[in-house]
Symmetry: C2
Subunit: 464 residues, 2 copies
Amino acid sequence: MTDQQTICAISTAPGMGAIAIIRLSGHETFSMIDRIFRPAAKKTALKLQKANTIVYGTIIKEGAVLDEVLVSIFKAPHSFTGEDTIEIACHGSVFVQQTLLQLLIEQGARMAKPGEFTQRAFLNGKMDLAQSEAVADVIAAASASAHRIALQQMRGGISKEIQQLRQQLLTFTSLIELELDFSEEDVSFANRDELFKLCNNIHHLINRLSKSFQLGNALKNGVPVTIIGDTNVGKSTLLNALLNEDKAIVSDIAGTTRDVIEDVVIIEGIQFRFIDTAGIRATNDTIENMGIERSYQKIAQSDIVLTMVDASRSLNDIIIFLTSMSDKLHEKKSALIINKIDIAPKEQIEELMSLGEEMQLPVILLSAKGKTNMDQLINFLIHSVQSGTYNDNDVLVSNVRHYESLKNAGAAIERVLDGMQLSISGDFLSQDIRECLYYLGEITGEISTDEVLGNIFKNFCIGK
Amino acid sequence: MTDQQTICAISTAPGMGAIAIIRLSGHETFSMIDRIFRPAAKKTALKLQKANTIVYGTIIKEGAVLDEVLVSIFKAPHSFTGEDTIEIACHGSVFVQQTLLQLLIEQGARMAKPGEFTQRAFLNGKMDLAQSEAVADVIAAASASAHRIALQQMRGGISKEIQQLRQQLLTFTSLIELELDFSEEDVSFANRDELFKLCNNIHHLINRLSKSFQLGNALKNGVPVTIIGDTNVGKSTLLNALLNEDKAIVSDIAGTTRDVIEDVVIIEGIQFRFIDTAGIRATNDTIENMGIERSYQKIAQSDIVLTMVDASRSLNDIIIFLTSMSDKLHEKKSALIINKIDIAPKEQIEELMSLGEEMQLPVILLSAKGKTNMDQLINFLIHSVQSGTYNDNDVLVSNVRHYESLKNAGAAIERVLDGMQLSISGDFLSQDIRECLYYLGEITGEISTDEVLGNIFKNFCIGK
């Protein structure tokens, strides 16, 4: 699927900078650069210079100096791509970048496709597919937690777990398939009890990884937090207060598909997507009910739900609202936000607090306008994300492709477990185990197709 | 004016890329990086590793891996700044770039000011002031010719010429000042004939450099071309045709102050600024005359003037127009563009051609709409720029500051020449020679003030 032609690309961000890096990788890297580069000191061809060194000199175009550059030398297989590679650090003018790129193309290189350097790293066995995919995630990560998950994956986190599972399964499936060869003799090389135990362990591990996807995906793309409440209870004021907190950074990430009513805020390294909803209240109006129905859907899609009330309003209305909401909050991390405590009567605040306790919701007394108790809300949010069963070092699945493969692998291993309990024959077992192996192999790229690779790398930036 | 603190900055273009480079320079470079960097292979401190090598490893923040990076090692004085310097090539996410920068600042580095790396290179004697200034020009250059001038200056073009002049003058002024020490004895160490000859040569050289400013500045900022002609003779069509030529690239350079009626086109590596003018015709209307006055000013500011007529119009009107223009075109590179030759009567075209010859203007027959003879126009433009007395390798002055210093140095050397013809005494001569030396020294930075340096480097980008 990829040819062996030497490829080149600008690897630094587009536009003018102090320095730009142009990368060249492939068999002909050194013969190409040696034709256009004159070292300032030693008059040695770059291919004869030591790997991992930097050579200062000039790029020559049509007999004239195009630029003074630094060339970093990497030699196969000890480079990112596994091929001979150089990185030219030139002056960061757009003119120099474009002209240098053109000059390399004139030497026979071709423009790299998006992610092609990483794709070559994968094809040359420098990293597996899950690691390769994570390279793009590392570059796109906008928050500390998204970065941590991506970096962990790039450094082989999920690969290690998957490969261990696969290896154990492979051993067993070989034994079972050996039995099939001796089927007339009715031998049993694979200890069924041990196999059952292993499959059970694998089932648990796949389940754990699958389940981690919800958090992993949320941390990667932003943890969805729905704020529900009647109109004018202070939802916008709350969002503004969060945006203005010193701890919070407003993030405007290019490429993130954002609903108009979403606000992205990074708090203590975690990206939250705050989803404002239409005001919810008991009504007989059909159209208004449709709006409320959409709000319910938002709640269902969220990890965290903040139910917000205006403590200064009629207690009766608040109670009706909270009663209508109570059955929507099952299995959600939810808190009751009692806002406007600075202007509400003290007794009513106390009644609302009791109400929250009855509903078994944590209660946060807030004045969003006066920024009172904002730290309590922030603690609740951070705690809600971190209170899962995951530690900082646990592998979290954040990639939809991995999640789907895990789901399929999980279904296959369940069939193995069911089959074993029904004592089905080895060849049927073997078939399901092979299927499980196949789906696990998809994640790390032992199993891959051109189409899968194409889909993965097309979303990379050029130059990586 | 600069402290000795270790400085850091992102040196690649802002935003997300495959790779970003963060640069760290100063005494504490290695102690800072060694606190946060773990090499993958050799566990040697970076300061003990060889200069001009690249080390692969991880950046550690609060015990966890922040990123996998390549660190390039440069040691004082053999670095761009002349100080210990490292360049960290990290993953190009904005998060990684910002976090890494923050980590370096936590180690005691401070953010570099615009151009501060280059300023240190100047202060550490790695390059003179004219060369330092050219670094920013190289990065900003948008056309081949602007790039060539900037690169030549960065590589010491103008510095070499200035320093030669200065050195010769210094020798003479020492001799003259020696005479003053022996003034009672009325000796003459400095041969006046030779001094006069030298000053004359210097005068010529300064003049040549000063004169080159017009072209140098035009090539740097775009060669101004005014198009004059009555309304609807086809000026816009001509501009569009130029923009659509394969050879021409429309350039929209950020930061270029553009008049609304200017169009920037790069043709064969030269940037032209086409200035459209109000229609010019003989009139008694005061207000219209004011517009025409502005057009005359544009002509005065231009290097090249294209006088454009619509060959299909009344011959009498065209003649009146051309007659009114003829005295405005003195000392301009000017051509008569006879447009709409596809629809004009043949006889009239011939009459206009004779008229052009009478006015001693090159004539270009054009159909801007049909793109006929566009190559002739392009040749005229390119030739007008290159037909000066300058070769590709000649030093061109493109910097206003240098131009002003040259002007002042020229005035001083003229006083020396005048004084010598009047046989004024050595101490007066010496004073003017010293002044000339001073202004020449301003260019290369032997003479500089904090204010001058501040003005120069504030226009640099951060990270250079």
